[in-house]
Point group: C2
Chain length 192, copies 2
DNA sequence: CGTGTCATGTAATCAGTTACATGATTCA
DNA sequence: TGAATCATGTAACTGATTACATGACACG
Protein backbone atom coordinates (compact mmCIF):
# COMPACT_ATOMS: atom_id res chain seq x y z
CA UNK A 1 0.00 0.00 0.00
CA UNK A 2 2.62 2.55 -1.03
CA UNK A 3 -0.23 4.11 -3.12
CA UNK A 4 0.86 7.73 -3.25
CA UNK A 5 -2.11 8.96 -5.25
CA UNK A 6 -4.79 7.51 -3.01
CA UNK A 7 -2.78 8.34 0.05
CA UNK A 8 -2.56 12.02 -0.76
CA UNK A 9 -6.16 12.20 -1.87
CA UNK A 10 -7.00 11.15 1.69
CA UNK A 11 -4.40 13.40 3.32
CA UNK A 12 -5.77 16.26 1.22
CA UNK A 13 -9.32 15.71 2.40
CA UNK A 14 -8.15 15.38 6.00
CA UNK A 15 -6.47 18.78 5.70
CA UNK A 16 -9.95 20.28 5.52
CA UNK A 17 -10.85 18.83 8.90
CA UNK A 18 -10.95 15.57 10.89
CA UNK A 19 -12.95 12.72 9.39
CA UNK A 20 -13.62 9.01 9.72
CA UNK A 21 -13.19 6.46 6.96
CA UNK A 22 -16.90 6.53 6.43
CA UNK A 23 -16.92 10.33 6.20
CA UNK A 24 -14.10 10.24 3.68
CA UNK A 25 -15.94 7.94 1.34
CA UNK A 26 -18.91 10.30 1.45
CA UNK A 27 -16.70 13.35 0.86
CA UNK A 28 -15.12 11.66 -2.13
CA UNK A 29 -18.51 10.68 -3.51
CA UNK A 30 -20.15 14.06 -3.00
CA UNK A 31 -17.33 16.51 -3.66
CA UNK A 32 -14.64 15.04 -5.87
CA UNK A 33 -16.28 12.18 -7.75
CA UNK A 34 -15.88 14.23 -10.94
CA UNK A 35 -12.16 13.45 -10.92
CA UNK A 36 -11.53 10.87 -8.21
CA UNK A 37 -12.84 7.63 -6.70
CA UNK A 38 -11.82 5.54 -3.75
CA UNK A 39 -13.30 2.41 -2.19
CA UNK A 40 -13.47 1.35 1.47
CA UNK A 41 -10.96 -1.36 0.72
CA UNK A 42 -8.42 1.38 -0.01
CA UNK A 43 -9.48 3.96 2.56
CA UNK A 44 -9.29 1.92 5.75
CA UNK A 45 -5.84 0.39 5.18
CA UNK A 46 -4.47 3.79 4.13
CA UNK A 47 -5.81 5.44 7.30
CA UNK A 48 -4.13 2.76 9.35
CA UNK A 49 -0.89 3.33 7.48
CA UNK A 50 -1.10 7.10 7.99
CA UNK A 51 -1.17 6.68 11.76
CA UNK A 52 1.84 4.37 11.56
CA UNK A 53 3.72 7.03 9.59
CA UNK A 54 2.55 9.67 12.09
CA UNK A 55 0.92 11.74 9.33
CA UNK A 56 -2.44 11.39 11.07
CA UNK A 57 -3.69 10.53 14.53
CA UNK A 58 -6.83 8.70 15.45
CA UNK A 59 -9.38 9.47 18.14
CA UNK A 60 -12.26 7.18 19.07
CA UNK A 61 -15.66 8.81 19.31
CA UNK A 62 -18.09 6.76 21.36
CA UNK A 63 -21.64 6.85 20.09
CA UNK A 64 -24.81 5.46 21.57
CA UNK A 65 -26.77 3.04 19.42
CA UNK A 66 -24.23 3.40 16.62
CA UNK A 67 -20.77 1.87 16.16
CA UNK A 68 -17.83 3.92 17.43
CA UNK A 69 -16.38 6.41 15.01
CA UNK A 70 -12.62 6.31 14.40
CA UNK A 71 -11.87 9.94 13.63
CA UNK A 72 -8.58 10.84 11.98
CA UNK A 73 -6.89 14.24 11.91
CA UNK A 74 -3.66 15.39 10.30
CA UNK A 75 -0.56 15.93 12.38
CA UNK A 76 1.96 18.70 11.64
CA UNK A 77 4.00 16.11 9.80
CA UNK A 78 0.91 15.30 7.76
CA UNK A 79 0.39 18.96 6.83
CA UNK A 80 4.04 19.22 5.83
CA UNK A 81 3.87 16.07 3.71
CA UNK A 82 0.77 17.40 1.93
CA UNK A 83 2.44 20.74 1.27
CA UNK A 84 5.44 19.01 -0.25
CA UNK A 85 3.27 16.77 -2.41
CA UNK A 86 1.10 19.66 -3.63
CA UNK A 87 4.16 21.41 -5.05
CA UNK A 88 5.32 18.38 -7.03
CA UNK A 89 4.20 18.22 -10.66
CA UNK A 90 1.23 15.94 -11.29
CA UNK A 91 1.45 12.87 -13.46
CA UNK A 92 -0.74 12.54 -16.51
CA UNK A 93 -2.42 9.31 -17.48
CA UNK A 94 -4.45 8.31 -20.49
CA UNK A 95 -7.95 7.23 -19.57
CA UNK A 96 -9.06 3.94 -21.06
CA UNK A 97 -12.34 4.20 -22.86
CA UNK A 98 -14.21 0.99 -23.60
CA UNK A 99 -16.79 2.74 -25.78
CA UNK A 100 -14.00 3.95 -28.06
CA UNK A 101 -12.54 0.44 -28.20
CA UNK A 102 -15.87 -0.95 -29.41
CA UNK A 103 -16.37 1.92 -31.83
CA UNK A 104 -12.85 1.46 -33.23
CA UNK A 105 -13.79 -2.10 -34.13
CA UNK A 106 -17.21 -1.01 -35.43
CA UNK A 107 -16.72 -2.29 -38.96
CA UNK A 108 -16.94 -5.85 -37.60
CA UNK A 109 -20.63 -5.48 -36.73
CA UNK A 110 -23.74 -3.74 -38.05
CA UNK A 111 -23.73 0.07 -37.87
CA UNK A 112 -26.69 -0.07 -35.44
CA UNK A 113 -24.43 -1.59 -32.82
CA UNK A 114 -22.07 1.38 -32.95
CA UNK A 115 -24.97 3.81 -32.96
CA UNK A 116 -26.25 2.19 -29.81
CA UNK A 117 -22.84 2.45 -28.13
CA UNK A 118 -22.56 6.15 -28.97
CA UNK A 119 -26.11 6.80 -27.81
CA UNK A 120 -25.44 5.17 -24.49
CA UNK A 121 -22.23 7.13 -24.19
CA UNK A 122 -24.08 10.37 -24.89
CA UNK A 123 -26.78 9.58 -22.31
CA UNK A 124 -24.14 8.85 -19.75
CA UNK A 125 -22.43 12.19 -20.34
CA UNK A 126 -25.76 13.97 -19.89
CA UNK A 127 -26.25 12.17 -16.61
CA UNK A 128 -22.76 13.12 -15.46
CA UNK A 129 -23.50 16.74 -16.32
CA UNK A 130 -26.43 16.62 -13.87
CA UNK A 131 -24.31 15.04 -11.18
CA UNK A 132 -21.66 17.71 -11.61
CA UNK A 133 -24.24 20.47 -11.24
CA UNK A 134 -25.24 18.85 -7.97
CA UNK A 135 -21.60 18.76 -6.82
CA UNK A 136 -21.32 22.43 -7.70
CA UNK A 137 -24.32 23.15 -5.47
CA UNK A 138 -22.93 21.16 -2.54
CA UNK A 139 -19.55 22.88 -2.79
CA UNK A 140 -21.07 26.36 -3.06
CA UNK A 141 -23.28 25.82 -0.04
CA UNK A 142 -20.66 24.78 2.49
CA UNK A 143 -17.88 27.39 2.36
CA UNK A 144 -15.81 28.13 5.41
CA UNK A 145 -14.39 31.36 4.05
CA UNK A 146 -11.09 29.62 3.52
CA UNK A 147 -11.06 30.62 -0.13
CA UNK A 148 -11.37 27.02 -1.26
CA UNK A 149 -14.40 27.63 -3.41
CA UNK A 150 -12.82 29.17 -6.54
CA UNK A 151 -10.33 26.30 -6.81
CA UNK A 152 -13.01 23.69 -6.27
CA UNK A 153 -15.36 25.22 -8.82
CA UNK A 154 -12.59 25.22 -11.41
CA UNK A 155 -12.34 21.45 -11.13
CA UNK A 156 -16.10 21.09 -11.65
CA UNK A 157 -15.93 23.42 -14.62
CA UNK A 158 -13.25 21.19 -16.13
CA UNK A 159 -15.42 18.10 -15.74
CA UNK A 160 -18.44 19.85 -17.23
CA UNK A 161 -16.47 21.09 -20.23
CA UNK A 162 -15.25 17.56 -20.85
CA UNK A 163 -18.84 16.30 -20.77
CA UNK A 164 -20.08 18.99 -23.13
CA UNK A 165 -17.27 18.25 -25.59
CA UNK A 166 -18.15 14.55 -25.43
CA UNK A 167 -21.82 15.29 -26.14
CA UNK A 168 -20.97 17.53 -29.10
CA UNK A 169 -18.69 14.79 -30.42
CA UNK A 170 -21.43 12.18 -29.99
CA UNK A 171 -23.91 14.30 -31.96
CA UNK A 172 -21.49 14.56 -34.84
CA UNK A 173 -20.55 10.87 -34.64
CA UNK A 174 -24.22 9.87 -34.74
CA UNK A 175 -24.71 11.99 -37.85
CA UNK A 176 -21.78 10.25 -39.52
CA UNK A 177 -22.91 6.81 -38.46
CA UNK A 178 -26.40 7.26 -39.87
CA UNK A 179 -24.87 8.40 -43.15
CA UNK A 180 -22.71 5.30 -43.16
CA UNK A 181 -25.80 3.24 -42.54
CA UNK A 182 -27.67 4.93 -45.39
CA UNK A 183 -24.84 4.34 -47.84
CA UNK A 184 -24.61 0.70 -46.82
CA UNK A 185 -28.36 0.29 -47.25
CA UNK A 186 -28.22 1.71 -50.78
CA UNK A 187 -25.33 -0.58 -51.62
CA UNK A 188 -27.43 -3.49 -50.47
CA UNK A 189 -30.32 -2.35 -52.65
CA UNK A 190 -28.05 -2.14 -55.69
CA UNK A 191 -26.82 -5.67 -55.09
CA UNK A 192 -30.37 -7.06 -55.30
CA UNK B 1 -5.81 -12.70 -15.50
CA UNK B 2 -9.55 -12.74 -16.17
CA UNK B 3 -9.03 -9.15 -17.48
CA UNK B 4 -11.89 -8.91 -19.93
CA UNK B 5 -11.06 -5.39 -21.08
CA UNK B 6 -7.43 -6.05 -21.92
CA UNK B 7 -8.30 -9.43 -23.33
CA UNK B 8 -10.79 -8.06 -25.82
CA UNK B 9 -8.55 -5.17 -26.75
CA UNK B 10 -6.07 -7.81 -27.88
CA UNK B 11 -8.68 -10.03 -29.52
CA UNK B 12 -9.97 -6.93 -31.33
CA UNK B 13 -6.56 -6.08 -32.72
CA UNK B 14 -5.98 -9.69 -33.75
CA UNK B 15 -9.22 -9.59 -35.72
CA UNK B 16 -7.47 -7.19 -38.10
CA UNK B 17 -4.80 -9.76 -38.85
CA UNK B 18 -2.21 -12.06 -37.20
CA UNK B 19 0.33 -10.40 -34.93
CA UNK B 20 2.99 -11.14 -32.33
CA UNK B 21 3.06 -9.74 -28.81
CA UNK B 22 5.64 -7.26 -29.96
CA UNK B 23 3.49 -6.21 -32.93
CA UNK B 24 0.50 -5.74 -30.64
CA UNK B 25 2.31 -3.36 -28.35
CA UNK B 26 3.30 -1.31 -31.36
CA UNK B 27 -0.23 -1.34 -32.74
CA UNK B 28 -1.58 -0.18 -29.41
CA UNK B 29 1.02 2.56 -29.18
CA UNK B 30 0.60 3.82 -32.72
CA UNK B 31 -3.10 3.37 -33.37
CA UNK B 32 -5.12 3.36 -30.18
CA UNK B 33 -3.00 5.10 -27.57
CA UNK B 34 -5.58 7.93 -27.57
CA UNK B 35 -7.94 5.69 -25.63
CA UNK B 36 -6.03 2.57 -24.61
CA UNK B 37 -2.74 1.33 -23.21
CA UNK B 38 -1.28 -2.07 -22.52
CA UNK B 39 2.11 -3.23 -21.29
CA UNK B 40 4.13 -6.31 -22.20
CA UNK B 41 3.45 -7.68 -18.75
CA UNK B 42 -0.22 -7.87 -19.72
CA UNK B 43 0.06 -8.78 -23.39
CA UNK B 44 2.19 -11.92 -23.19
CA UNK B 45 0.20 -13.70 -20.44
CA UNK B 46 -3.08 -12.82 -22.20
CA UNK B 47 -1.83 -14.26 -25.50
CA UNK B 48 -0.89 -17.44 -23.70
CA UNK B 49 -4.32 -17.57 -22.11
CA UNK B 50 -6.06 -17.01 -25.47
CA UNK B 51 -4.42 -20.11 -26.91
CA UNK B 52 -5.51 -22.14 -23.88
CA UNK B 53 -9.09 -20.94 -24.42
CA UNK B 54 -8.76 -21.73 -28.14
CA UNK B 55 -9.65 -18.16 -29.11
CA UNK B 56 -6.29 -17.81 -30.86
CA UNK B 57 -3.64 -20.11 -32.23
CA UNK B 58 0.08 -19.55 -32.35
CA UNK B 59 2.54 -20.15 -35.14
CA UNK B 60 6.31 -19.85 -34.79
CA UNK B 61 8.08 -17.80 -37.43
CA UNK B 62 11.78 -18.58 -37.63
CA UNK B 63 13.95 -15.58 -38.36
CA UNK B 64 17.65 -15.33 -39.08
CA UNK B 65 19.67 -13.08 -36.82
CA UNK B 66 16.54 -12.13 -34.86
CA UNK B 67 14.60 -14.03 -32.20
CA UNK B 68 11.72 -16.19 -33.39
CA UNK B 69 8.37 -14.48 -33.73
CA UNK B 70 5.38 -16.06 -32.01
CA UNK B 71 2.55 -15.03 -34.29
CA UNK B 72 -1.02 -15.30 -33.06
CA UNK B 73 -4.18 -15.38 -35.15
CA UNK B 74 -7.84 -15.60 -34.15
CA UNK B 75 -9.73 -18.87 -34.44
CA UNK B 76 -13.41 -19.00 -35.42
CA UNK B 77 -14.19 -19.22 -31.73
CA UNK B 78 -12.14 -16.06 -31.24
CA UNK B 79 -14.09 -14.21 -33.94
CA UNK B 80 -17.35 -15.34 -32.36
CA UNK B 81 -16.26 -14.26 -28.89
CA UNK B 82 -15.29 -10.83 -30.23
CA UNK B 83 -18.62 -10.46 -32.02
CA UNK B 84 -20.46 -11.26 -28.82
CA UNK B 85 -18.38 -8.84 -26.76
CA UNK B 86 -18.76 -6.02 -29.30
CA UNK B 87 -22.54 -6.14 -28.93
CA UNK B 88 -22.47 -5.90 -25.16
CA UNK B 89 -22.84 -2.38 -23.71
CA UNK B 90 -19.57 -0.77 -22.66
CA UNK B 91 -18.83 0.16 -19.07
CA UNK B 92 -18.09 3.74 -18.13
CA UNK B 93 -15.40 4.70 -15.69
CA UNK B 94 -14.40 8.01 -14.18
CA UNK B 95 -10.85 8.93 -14.99
CA UNK B 96 -8.73 9.99 -12.07
CA UNK B 97 -7.03 13.29 -12.60
CA UNK B 98 -4.12 14.18 -10.34
CA UNK B 99 -3.93 17.74 -11.64
CA UNK B 100 -7.51 18.32 -10.53
CA UNK B 101 -6.74 16.85 -7.13
CA UNK B 102 -3.91 19.32 -6.61
CA UNK B 103 -5.96 22.21 -7.96
CA UNK B 104 -8.87 21.29 -5.68
CA UNK B 105 -6.54 21.73 -2.71
CA UNK B 106 -5.01 24.89 -4.20
CA UNK B 107 -5.95 27.18 -1.31
CA UNK B 108 -3.34 25.39 0.82
CA UNK B 109 -0.44 26.79 -1.23
CA UNK B 110 0.47 29.96 -3.11
CA UNK B 111 -1.55 30.68 -6.25
CA UNK B 112 1.63 30.30 -8.35
CA UNK B 113 1.71 26.62 -7.56
CA UNK B 114 -1.76 26.10 -9.04
CA UNK B 115 -0.90 28.26 -12.04
CA UNK B 116 2.09 26.04 -12.68
CA UNK B 117 -0.03 22.89 -12.46
CA UNK B 118 -2.58 24.25 -14.94
CA UNK B 119 0.18 25.42 -17.29
CA UNK B 120 1.76 22.01 -17.31
CA UNK B 121 -1.64 20.44 -17.88
CA UNK B 122 -2.26 22.75 -20.82
CA UNK B 123 1.14 21.98 -22.36
CA UNK B 124 0.47 18.30 -22.04
CA UNK B 125 -2.86 18.60 -23.84
CA UNK B 126 -1.17 20.47 -26.69
CA UNK B 127 1.38 17.69 -26.97
CA UNK B 128 -1.38 15.06 -27.01
CA UNK B 129 -3.11 16.98 -29.80
CA UNK B 130 0.05 16.60 -31.89
CA UNK B 131 0.28 12.91 -31.13
CA UNK B 132 -3.34 12.41 -32.13
CA UNK B 133 -2.77 14.16 -35.45
CA UNK B 134 0.04 11.70 -36.05
CA UNK B 135 -2.24 8.76 -35.22
CA UNK B 136 -4.78 10.16 -37.66
CA UNK B 137 -2.11 10.18 -40.36
CA UNK B 138 -1.02 6.60 -39.65
CA UNK B 139 -4.60 5.32 -39.70
CA UNK B 140 -5.46 7.17 -42.92
CA UNK B 141 -2.40 5.84 -44.71
CA UNK B 142 -2.93 2.15 -44.14
CA UNK B 143 -6.49 1.34 -45.21
CA UNK B 144 -7.36 -2.09 -46.46
CA UNK B 145 -10.68 -1.05 -47.88
CA UNK B 146 -12.44 -2.85 -45.03
CA UNK B 147 -14.31 0.31 -44.11
CA UNK B 148 -12.49 0.56 -40.79
CA UNK B 149 -11.32 4.10 -41.38
CA UNK B 150 -14.48 6.11 -40.57
CA UNK B 151 -14.87 4.30 -37.23
CA UNK B 152 -11.23 4.74 -36.35
CA UNK B 153 -11.22 8.43 -37.24
CA UNK B 154 -14.24 9.00 -35.00
CA UNK B 155 -12.26 7.78 -32.01
CA UNK B 156 -9.42 10.16 -32.84
CA UNK B 157 -11.88 12.99 -33.24
CA UNK B 158 -13.21 12.24 -29.77
CA UNK B 159 -9.75 12.41 -28.26
CA UNK B 160 -8.96 15.66 -30.05
CA UNK B 161 -12.21 17.28 -28.92
CA UNK B 162 -11.41 16.31 -25.34
CA UNK B 163 -7.99 17.93 -25.66
CA UNK B 164 -9.37 21.11 -27.14
CA UNK B 165 -11.97 21.39 -24.39
CA UNK B 166 -9.23 20.91 -21.80
CA UNK B 167 -7.11 23.64 -23.38
CA UNK B 168 -10.02 26.09 -23.47
CA UNK B 169 -10.74 25.26 -19.84
CA UNK B 170 -7.08 25.84 -18.93
CA UNK B 171 -7.08 29.25 -20.59
CA UNK B 172 -10.07 30.30 -18.56
CA UNK B 173 -8.70 28.80 -15.35
CA UNK B 174 -5.40 30.65 -15.81
CA UNK B 175 -7.32 33.91 -16.21
CA UNK B 176 -9.19 33.26 -12.99
CA UNK B 177 -6.06 32.23 -11.12
CA UNK B 178 -4.18 35.38 -12.09
CA UNK B 179 -7.15 37.44 -10.89
CA UNK B 180 -7.09 35.56 -7.61
CA UNK B 181 -3.41 36.29 -7.37
CA UNK B 182 -3.93 40.00 -8.04
CA UNK B 183 -6.65 40.28 -5.41
CA UNK B 184 -4.46 38.50 -2.87
CA UNK B 185 -1.59 40.82 -3.69
CA UNK B 186 -3.74 43.90 -3.14
CA UNK B 187 -5.00 42.51 0.15
CA UNK B 188 -1.39 42.07 1.22
CA UNK B 189 -0.65 45.68 0.27
CA UNK B 190 -3.58 46.95 2.33
CA UNK B 191 -2.38 44.98 5.34
CA UNK B 192 0.98 46.73 5.32
C1' DC C 1 -40.90 -5.80 7.32
C1' DG C 2 -37.72 -4.29 4.03
C1' DT C 3 -34.54 -0.76 2.56
C1' DG C 4 -31.16 2.58 3.56
C1' DT C 5 -27.82 4.62 6.54
C1' DC C 6 -24.34 4.44 9.89
C1' DA C 7 -19.84 2.18 10.82
C1' DT C 8 -15.28 -0.64 10.51
C1' DG C 9 -12.45 -3.77 8.84
C1' DT C 10 -10.23 -8.06 6.28
C1' DA C 11 -9.51 -11.43 2.60
C1' DA C 12 -9.68 -12.76 -1.89
C1' DT C 13 -9.24 -11.51 -6.25
C1' DC C 14 -8.34 -8.93 -10.18
C1' DA C 15 -5.62 -5.60 -12.89
C1' DG C 16 -1.63 -3.47 -14.28
C1' DT C 17 3.31 -1.70 -14.23
C1' DT C 18 8.22 -2.12 -13.71
C1' DA C 19 12.24 -4.53 -13.46
C1' DC C 20 14.87 -8.27 -14.80
C1' DA C 21 16.92 -11.69 -17.96
C1' DT C 22 18.81 -12.42 -22.66
C1' DG C 23 20.94 -11.27 -26.96
C1' DA C 24 21.61 -10.09 -32.02
C1' DT C 25 21.40 -6.25 -35.52
C1' DT C 26 21.30 -1.69 -37.32
C1' DC C 27 22.42 2.99 -37.49
C1' DA C 28 24.57 7.36 -36.31
C1' DT D 1 30.63 2.83 -29.03
C1' DG D 2 26.32 3.57 -27.52
C1' DA D 3 21.47 3.87 -28.47
C1' DA D 4 17.48 2.01 -30.71
C1' DT D 5 14.95 -1.77 -32.55
C1' DC D 6 13.71 -6.43 -32.68
C1' DA D 7 11.89 -10.14 -29.67
C1' DT D 8 9.84 -13.03 -25.61
C1' DG D 9 8.83 -13.92 -21.29
C1' DT D 10 8.60 -14.04 -15.84
C1' DA D 11 8.58 -12.26 -11.12
C1' DA D 12 7.82 -8.89 -7.93
C1' DC D 13 5.23 -5.41 -6.68
C1' DT D 14 1.74 -1.83 -6.60
C1' DG D 15 -2.83 -0.61 -6.95
C1' DA D 16 -7.78 -1.12 -6.61
C1' DT D 17 -12.35 -3.53 -6.33
C1' DT D 18 -15.63 -6.84 -4.47
C1' DA D 19 -17.25 -9.77 -1.25
C1' DC D 20 -17.69 -11.01 3.29
C1' DA D 21 -18.50 -10.40 8.31
C1' DT D 22 -21.14 -7.80 11.83
C1' DG D 23 -24.94 -5.22 13.74
C1' DA D 24 -28.03 -1.35 15.34
C1' DC D 25 -31.31 2.27 14.14
C1' DA D 26 -34.54 5.13 11.31
C1' DC D 27 -38.07 5.60 8.10
C1' DG D 28 -42.02 4.51 5.33
Amino acid sequence: MKSNKSKFAIVGLLSRGPASGYDLRKLIEERISHFWSESFGQIYPILKQLTVERLARRKVERQIGKPDRQVYSLTDRGEAALDEWLRKPAEFQVARNETMLKLFLGSQVEVDVSIEHVNRYRDHQLQLLDEYTEIERILSEEEGGTGDLPFQLMTVSHAKQQCRAAIRWADEALRQLSELQASRASRRRRRR
